[in-house]
């Protein structure tokens, strides 16, 4: 029974003194390649993909039979039967079944928030190790019955006699049978995310050319990263895919310029957002291994970077005060101020590319003097992001964006980039992550090389 006791308690590495904190480290990550919806993962459920991503992580770091402090992950598009999605994925993995898990949901910020939540627990000494992550399938999305049919079915369940049941069934009308498919529309405005961004893109006068150029760089940078083997220890193939299926290594500015606009066609101004400079619906999963220094060291595992700090923000997009995806614009200055940092201190900017327009509107707001004074409460503009430091290994426009998986993708990649740059330059390096999310939310974080 000694072996069983080892996994149920009494094996804590180091006792944390009460009231103190310690650093939380990123050991590494694993994701499966992201697939365009309806593609390679059309038959894969969220649980399948999250389990696959976990299994790859377990294999990379030899975590078989390990009782991890806690696993946190989530999905944005989630079946009600997946109420314990992460725990079920853990039980289907090679981790010790004594590993607890919880689900988290914060729209596209889900993945980054799991990293912040677990790293905080590590900092507090509540756990020594954690696996953060996220998964989403737009292919295997839940489809609900109509609200009318749902009420009838619930009544049917309550009916006792055959006569009562028949009476309830007789209420079904053809219109009730139309399913209620998920969409990315905002419940309070009825506008899709793309249409919301089109408003913001137009407001900040972001040009079609600038958006296409950002998309082009995303594909080019991601392709180059694959080419030099950057993802060899960040990714495990799945269902025949060994790189993101949305990646177009051979795309060109001309090709991108030839695409027809899909969002913002009714705004009066010229529509600029195309399928090329907007992120497609994607399926995929990503995981990140977090640990205390002692936990990682005692297992011979690397420590690439620390999770320094994070900040969430939200905006009032409902009344049009700010754009739907502009919350990070407010979160970043608050986070930098708390850490006493400026853009000059940042080596890599990872700004999630929901749309090229989102990134460019965000950068424009930070560069705007008046916005800085009136909205951010600063003496002037927050600052200019050096484009040479922006999404240098590609981002969501090229890789795709399985909503809850994006945070894990960015954190693991950035941790590796910071570690490599710190090694070559012999100094600590810092990275800033910014992820916008539905509901006018945003989560941002700072990582530092370990």
């Amino acid at each position: 029974m000694a072996a069983a006791d080892m996994t149920t308690g009494g094996d804590r590495q180091a006792q944390q003194a009460p009231g103190t904190t310690r650093r939380a480290f990123i050991v590494g990550g694993n994701r499966i390649p992201f697939a365009r919806t309806g593609g390679a993962y059309v038959k894969s459920s969220n649980q399948d993909m999250l389990t696959a991503a976990l299994e790859g992580l377990i294999a990379r770091f030899g975590l078989q039979d390990e009782r991890i402090g806690e696993v946190a992950a989530g999905a944005v598009l989630k079946h009600s039967r997946d109420f314990n999605l992460t725990r079920e994925a853990v039980l289907g993995s090679s981790l010790a079944p004594e590993t607890p898990a919880y689900d988290l949901q914060q729209a596209c910020a889900t993945g980054l928030e799991t990293v912040l939540g677990l790293s905080n627990k590590i900092r507090l000494g509540q756990i020594d190790s954690g696996i953060a992550g996220g998964v989403d399938s737009a292919s295997d999305a839940p489809i609900a019955v109509s609200e009318g049919l749902r009420e009838i079915l619930l009544d049917l369940n309550r009916a006792k006699t055959p006569a009562q049941k028949l009476k309830v069934i007789s209420r079904i009308r053809p219109k009730d049978l139309a399913p209620d498919a998920p969409n990315t529309g905002e419940p309070r405005t009825g506008l899709s995310m793309g249409e919301h961004q089109a408003l913001t893109t137009a407001q900040w006068k972001v040009t079609r050319e600038a958006q296409d150029e950002l998309a082009y760089n995303s594909h080019r940078n991601l392709a180059a990263a694959y080419q030099r083997g950057f993802f060899d220890d960040l990714l495990t193939p799945y269902r025949g895919l060994n790189r993101d299926s949305n990646l177009r290594a051979d795309t060109s500015l001309e090709k991108l310029a030839s695409l027809k606009p899909v969002f913002g066609k009714t705004l009066g101004s010229e529509a600029t957002m195309t399928a090329g400079n907007s992120t497609p619906l994607t399926d995929g999963a990503a995981t990140v291994l977090l640990a205390s220094e002692e936990w990682a060291n005692s297992r011979g595992l690397p420590t690439l970077a620390t999770v320094v700090d994070g900040e969430a923000a939200a905006v009032d997009f409902v009344h049009g005060k700010d754009g739907l995806l502009m919350a990070p614009v407010f979160a970043v200055p608050r986070l930098l101020a708390r850490q006493g940092l400026t853009f000059e201190d940042i080596d890599f900017f990872e700004i999630h590319e929901a749309f090229a327009g989102t990134v460019l509107s965000t950068l424009a707001a930070w560069e705007d003097e008046e916005f800085g004074r009136t909205r951010l409460g600063l003496p002037g503009a927050l600052g200019k992001v050096d484009r040479a430091k922006l999404n240098v290994n590609g981002s969501s426009l090229a890789a795709g964006h399985p909503f809850a998986a994006t945070g894990g993708r960015i954190v693991a990649s950035l941790a590796k980039m910071l570690h490599e740059k710190a090694l070559t330059e012999g100094r600590p390096t810092r990275g800033l992550i910014s992820v916008c999310a539905a509901g006018g939310q945003g989560v941002v974080a700072i990582l530092e090389s370990a």
Partner: protein, 446 residues
Amino acid sequence: MTDKYTQMVSRGLGKDVAKRLGLPQPVVLRRYEPGAPLITGPVLVSGDSAGADDVATALLGWGLDVRRNALPREKLGAIILVLDALQHPGDLGKPVLTAGGSLRDLAANARVITMSRTPLSASSPSVAAARQGVDGMLRSLAKELRAGATANGVLLAEELATTSPSALGALRFFLSGRSAYVDGQFLTVASASGSMPADTDKPLAGKVAVVTGAARGIGAAIARTLHRDGAKIVAVDIPAAGDHLAAVANEVRGTALQLDISNDDAGHRIIEHAVERHGRLDIVVHNAGITRDRLLANMDEARWNSVIAVNIAAQLRINEALLRSEHFRDSPRIVSVASTSGIAGNRGQTNYGASKGGVIGMVRCTAALMQPFHGTINAVAPGFIETEMTARMPLAIREAARRLNSLKQGGQPQDVAEAIAFLASDAAGGISGEVLRVCGQQLVGA
């Protein structure tokens, strides 16, 4: 899985029909499982030298039922012919004919094993003739044995005791189910290095082993077998095979390293991973290999070069890194997977044959470089092995390849893995620069 034909003719009606029609009659081979007895039935130790007495004593120490003379009509598990003191070919007759008298009493999956001395160092022509005679006799005898029985030989260096660690290690290997598909082969024991394991079921306990090409087929079997024998596994394969690799790594409770072994820094990456994650590096199995078959007349540069790059150039480069590394100094082991194509040749495989012949050349030459730190390097040369790859061969060619050997069946990936696990063990410390064929004594070529 044993092939369907073998299953069919191994018992009942199928067995009778095959016998009457004179069809090949393969049997299900005895394969090693942890905890299984080394061999069942009495073991006849034949030979009147002091070395023979020593072997008999050692076998008694292993708890075997040892005979110095055969009893009439008693089923034998094995015959060990100790011929370490031959002076003249005339000395062969008596012991060999005595053994011959017991051949009909061999049980299924029995073993005949010779222990003789290597002819290369013979002091006179007659001694050399006697020693080389053992070679020809044993290879012929192997072709006469039936029902899964095999004949193999241990060749001892001059003055080396019949009970030196690796002589007994090789003897154990040949007696056990680990050598199921090794037939008609010799292993030379060059030195008294090596030691018998504390736990014969965990001969690799405490070792860290790297297996390249571990995602599937023979590589996955090697990972499983080394893990079963107690080693910690670093499973290496190209990134594109990462999903299968992860499954194998998780199964064997090891770590997966997605790495193209033809990268310049592959050796460094392998050493770094093993040492950082597992604290040491003891065993490297060069299994990764590719085929790009074409008749030479149709061969293009890409096909030729890629096979050379992956199958031999990568091994050479990784070995250079290993030989330079301070972390590969504690009686390390390198085992390479060669191929019978590199020995006997194979139509359409000039590139592959060159690469696998290259492996054999490399192994023989590297042995001396491993010696200063009690390291060894050896190769195994598989014949027809039942894998996903051979399952895709055209039926007629596959059946021919499968049956044209003394055991009349293909080998299993595990059979190759068992030979590698033995060569990687402490018990094989006195064996280096050797090429062990795991081919069921393939009849065609060499």
